[in-house]
Symmetry: C2
Subunit: 187 residues, 2 copies
Amino acid sequence: MRVAVALKKSWRMFNHGPVTLVSASAGGVDNVMAAAWVTPLDFDPPKFTVVLASDTYTRALAERSGELMLQVPTVSMLSVIEGVGACSGRDVDKWTKFAIEREREDGVAAPLVAGCVGWMAAKIIDEPRLATEYDLFICQGFAAWADDRAFSEGRLRDDVPPELRTVHHIAGGTYIVDGDLVRASHG
Amino acid sequence: MRVAVALKKSWRMFNHGPVTLVSASAGGVDNVMAAAWVTPLDFDPPKFTVVLASDTYTRALAERSGELMLQVPTVSMLSVIEGVGACSGRDVDKWTKFAIEREREDGVAAPLVAGCVGWMAAKIIDEPRLATEYDLFICQGFAAWADDRAFSEGRLRDDVPPELRTVHHIAGGTYIVDGDLVRASHG
């Protein structure tokens, strides 16, 4: 079930470096792309760095609305992750093409991609030179949700069902699925 | 065995979001810290974003020398990863305290932490406002090496021995070990 996550704990959902889906909406048009280079930058309030190539339609919509949704897909969504990364929302409606359902939250511009296990609604911090020079965006989260089968207070659970495990992009359509959880002994 | 990796393929070693160890050296002093927030930013030449808290000694050494070493440790090194993150090189010699061996390469300031499976020597790009405002550094790799049991041309192998698997930080001393490798079917 999708539940709200306390903002100060929400950075944890992205701390293990999973591949993400980034969605944005402007002028009544939604789009979504895959992004491996999404990383926490600060805890409370949570900030993130996000790399969005200059020619992507999602970036154009995010820049127009000033908002984006960062979300953590699962191993069950590999064909969606690959699919939305292999075409442009300028050419096709990805929501229809890949049968992706979306949800809405009040006061949030970007749609939530159904089937993911973590969502972070974020506003873009105005850093135009970083975008131009590095395709780098800094954003600040303002609302977060998680599937409570995958995260508890933002922390990845140790009993995530196999079909809800998150994935990490290696290269060229190859991913690593989350394996076992291990704890370091302090000392 | 540690082998050189072609620079244009070296970003792949960090693409799956593993926790890293960051080392630096200045004035004859070496230090090393753990950093979860290290992410590729560009391919060729490879660039990375690195978040280094303002009070860390490794950051001070990196700023003084203009260089740092990003490296990917393994699940066998959990106590080292936790240990170097729980004390300061201003107070203790971490190399002695945690029995960490280091190696050197010609023309590279920072030491290579032995036992890791990927290493990236990088120079800091001068972005002083990002460091002050966000503790964020952008660096450009100039030499890379990999343990050929873990990476092949920078790409994570599908037969990495269990003891050499990389780990992803969740929070508070808890990590996820790399699980199975999966391939998306295109189309």
